[in-house]
């Protein structure tokens, strides 16, 4: 099966910042992404856990974006503007996709 080069960008970000992130993605002309829930985690700002929480201020989500490699830089610039002052991590891996016209 024919596959095509792509980048897989995974952004773990505070739930409260999600709308700002997706707005920034749209601003950078990225229109494909998926949001996955995160149950808990640990980082420099300590350990957290979503169980039983009603506060909207706690908790992260993970946004996964598959894009054409030549869009990576503008995407990262857009993402960085949002996460810069906030907690969260961003990683990029090389990937292959089916149906490249979608990205």
């Amino acid at each position: 099966m024919q596959t095509h080069d792509a980048k897989r960008v995974e952004i773990t970000i505070e739930q409260v910042m999600l709308r700002r992130l997706t707005d920034a993605l749209e601003g950078a002309d990225v229109t494909g992404w998926s949001v996955l829930p995160v149950l808990g985690g640990s980082g420099r700002s300590g350990v957290w856990n979503r169980e039983g929480q009603i506060s909207r201020g706690t908790g992260m989500v993970q946004v996964v974006c598959l894009i054409h490699p030549n869009k990576l830089d503008s995407l990262l610039d857009a993402v960085f503007a949002v996460v810069e002052r906030h907690i969260g991590v961003v990683n990029v891996t090389d990937a292959q996709v089916l149906r490249a016209h979608r990205f």
Partner: protein
């Protein structure tokens, strides 16, 4: 008052909270799923809003309604300033952290309010139905005060129109006010239709909710290391400062004993839904562990266990006819 405190301490509601705290401190894996906790909080907001509205519809709009709303807004604006001063005196935390914390104490905790209404209900004391609207009115102004305190210092805080909309239209406010209006529109007729859902099982549902809150608070207590002694002192003192301010306001307005107790409760309580979310967006450099732990693991238990019977005793002896 000792009697009242003891009765409160031995209520299923407070004991459920204590159970949750104990379970978390003992590192039991007891937990309430997030979706269920959110579902219960929706139920509580809907019920409390609806009942407030229906009661207003029945007893008519009081002259003091407008004054109470105004008092709530002023208290919410002013209390963070007092809190900020107190905190800078007592604790060594940074200006930004102190301002963020202070913002929480100007705003309100709806669960503390709900627990307050349930203490009133147990004691058979009526209160003004519109106190629910006052609760909603007190949520947001404190955030402005906190941001103003922060921007006066070197740090910057971003208050976009977007954030502004988010704060005013956050789910809890909308649900509380919305169901208040529905209760007002449908009156005691509407209330009768859904009373078997929002009235009779209310206290029982509240137990499960406080069990969950206890678990979260207990988890928070295990991280209480982020708080210095001064901060903990603040978490115990500030509710009394708030309650006193609320008391003065209530006496000036002339609220009933029940209403006075509720305004004291609102002023004494610290937000942990609306304000933390706003602070994360606007002041990411403020440490969330500090304000969440103080509000949920120090002030909330204090209010629930000791504060409410105190406020009720004081309100009963000073206010109302």
């Amino acid at each position: 008052m000792l009697d009242l405190a003891l009765a409160n301490l031995l209520s299923p509601i407070v004991l459920s909270f204590v159970l949750g705290v104990a379970a978390a401190l003992a590192r039991s894996d007891l937990s309430v799923p997030e979706a269920v906790a959110k579902g219960i909080s929706i139920y509580l907001l809907f019920a409390i809003g609806f009942k407030g509205g229906a009661s207003l519809a029945e007893h008519g709009i009081d002259l003091t309604l407008g004054l109470s709303l105004l008092a709530g807004v002023i208290l919410s604006f002013a209390l963070p300033l007092a809190g900020f001063g107190l905190l800078r005196m007592l604790s060594g935390m940074s200006r930004t952290d102190a301002a963020a914390v202070a913002g929480h104490y100007g705003s309100i905790s709806i669960v503390t309010f709900v627990a307050g209404t349930s203490v009133l209900a147990d004691a058979g004391i009526a209160s003004e139905g519109y106190m629910v609207a006052v609760a909603a009115a007190m949520e947001a102004p404190a955030i402005l005060s906190a941001l103003w305190l922060i921007s006066r210092g070197s740090d910057d805080a971003e208050l976009s129109s977007d954030l502004w909309r988010e704060i005013l239209l956050n789910g809890s406010i909308v649900l509380l006010l919305g169901s208040f209006v529905i209760g007002m529109a449908t009156g005691s007729d509407g209330l009768n239709r859904i009373a078997p859902f929002i009235v009779s099982p209310f206290q029982g549902v509240l137990c499960l909710f406080l069990l969950d809150m206890g678990i979260i608070a207990g988890r928070g207590l295990r991280q209480a290391g982020v708080l210095d002694r001064g901060a903990i002192g603040f978490g115990l003192l500030m509710p009394l400062v708030g309650a006193s301010a609320g008391l003065v306001a209530a006496l000036i307005i002339g609220l009933s004993a029940g209403g006075t107790m509720l305004l004291m409760t609102l002023s004494a309580s610290a937000s942990y839904i609306a304000v933390p979310a706003a602070m994360r967006v606007a002041v990411p450099q403020a440490n969330p562990s500090i304000y969440l732990t103080l509000s949920l693991a120090v002030t909330f238990p204090f209010n629930l266990v000791l504060g409410l019977p105190i406020y009720l005793t004081v309100a009963q002896s000073l206010a109302g006819s």
